[in-house]
């Protein structure tokens, strides 16, 4: 699936139309904690997130994210869109929530690109 197909699938609105619509998406990952994204996401994934500050774009650049979907049709600040333009990474807003979006993408054949956090490291609750 490429960015163009993705936008169609989620009734999305592409916020930076200059982004590469042909870029291939290998799978998905959903998270609001950027550290979780950095820890678990594999390259070339679409990132589903409720966060919309510029750090989402930065995180995506470091983690080789192929496209970003901001869930629940939020208003996205200008500096986030500017940074997405600068880094040439597709930024898409969708009216659906995280659960609905993950379901749609999974059903359309996108696998999870969240690698399990091993080493017994995820003992946040303690």
């Amino acid at each position: 699936m490429n960015v163009k197909d993705l936008v169609l699938l989620i009734d999305g609105h592409l916020l930076n139309p200059s982004a590469n619509l042909e870029r291939e998406i290998r799978g998905g990952c959903g998270a609001d904690l950027m550290s979780d994204v950095l820890a678990s996401i594999q390259p070339e994934a679409v990132l589903l997130t409720g966060l919309c500050n510029p750090q989402v774009i930065r995180t995506s650049v470091m983690a080789d994210v192929a496209a970003i979907i901001i869930v629940r049709g939020k208003n996205i600040p200008k500096e986030t869109i500017d940074l997405a333009n600068e880094e040439d990474i597709a930024l898409i807003s969708s009216p659906f929530g995280m659960f609905e979006l993950a379901g749609r993408l999974y059903k359309a054949g996108l696998p999870s690109l969240e690698s399990p956090v091993g080493d017994g490291i995820c003992d946040c609750g303690e």
Partner: protein
């Protein structure tokens, strides 16, 4: 798709702009055919047919003493053939309504003339009004393609040079040092240093995996400087062919209990920081996962020093070719 008219990619858009730029940068004389074959008004039409056939051209200027007096094309020849009039001179069929362009004009001027007329070729004159060449739309296309290819080769050479940087420098130990000053509380620019480091590494020929690991580790550390320090700090990255050493220092406040800070999930971050998607207590854990060695030293009340190292395998070396030709 949101907007079906926007079907070209950013890369294509970039190329279009470059082509447009080139139509202003390139001069007519750089793309035209120099010293074209010419005829005089008295040349017979059957000789003209022979010239067209031999030189595989479809039009030629008509001159008297280097001064342009007309232009004759294959269309004129067809008209002549229809009248079975090949023994007439060129002057009878040539076109005297002349559109010309100057050799020193940018290519865009010639393009405008082509767009606004039905002509297939334009005679090119120098400052003195003498004929020096002829230009067709095909000449413009191939001129632009040549220039684009030249651009591409230059970029390739720059890339090649960066990825072989250390090979050209003789020393017992060469390295490249990048420094970044990070401001406390500068959330808007948080990650710009890591982003720049990632690009530098890729340019130096690092593998995508190495660039990713390094930039994720530095990004977490950069956010720590922004979130937790009193005055920000400094990121120093030393790149050598076989290793990347990262040193992150700040002058306070220091970590009270380093062992506790390293524990997954432990965090002292405020609600504001958590709203940014950080402060989940996974930063140092993430850093450790990305690097080969990590040393965290902190004096509470004074400051913190974080040293990271990423080792590169022979095949992953940066700034020099991965297959070493000679032993030192």
């Amino acid at each position: 798709m949101a907007n079906p008219n926007r079907s070209f990619t950013a890369q294509e858009a970039e190329n279009i702009t470059r082509v447009e730029e080139l139509t202003y940068e390139l001069k007519v004389e750089e793309v035209m055919t120099k010293d074209p074959s010419v005829v005089i008004p008295e040349t017979k039409m059957n000789n003209l047919l022979e010239i067209f056939r031999k030189n595989r051209i479809s039009g030629t200027p008509v001159v008297v003493n280097h001064q342009l007096v007309g232009i004759v094309s294959i269309e004129d020849l067809i008209r002549c053939l229809q009248c079975n009039d090949l023994s007439s001179p060129v002057s009878k069929y040539m076109s005297k309504k002349l559109l010309t362009t100057r050799s020193t004009d940018p290519v865009i001027e010639a393009l405008k003339l082509f767009v606004n007329s039905h002509y297939g070729r334009l005679p090119v004159l120098d400052e003195q009004g003498q004929l020096v060449g002829i230009i067709t739309k095909g000449d413009i296309t191939s001129g632009i393609l040549k220039a684009l290819q030249h651009d591409y080769q230059e970029e390739e050479i720059r890339r090649y040079r960066a990825s072989h940087l250390f090979e050209d420098i003789v020393s017992d130990r060469s390295s490249l040092i990048l420094r970044y000053n990070i401001k406390q509380g500068d959330f808007i620019h948080g990650g710009s240093a890591s982003s720049a480091i990632k690009k530098a590494l890729l340019r130096l020929g690092a593998s995508p995996q190495i660039a990713r690991r390094t930039s994720i580790a530095i990004y977490e550390a950069e956010m720590n400087l922004i979130i937790h320090t009193t005055h920000g700090g400094i990121i120093r990255v030393e790149i050598e062919p076989q290793q990347i050493s990262i040193n992150i220092t700040d002058e306070g406040p220091g970590i009270e209990d380093v062992e506790l800070a390293m524990r997954p999930g432990f965090s002292t971050a405020t609600e504001t920081v958590r709203e940014l998607g950080f402060g989940a207590g996974m930063g140092l854990v993430n850093i450790q996962r990305c690097v080969d060695s990590m040393r965290l030293e902190s004096v509470y009340g004074k400051g913190t020093n974080l040293r990271l190292k990423i080792n590169l395998l022979e095949a992953e070396s940066v700034g020099e070719s991965s297959t070493p030709q000679k032993e030192r």
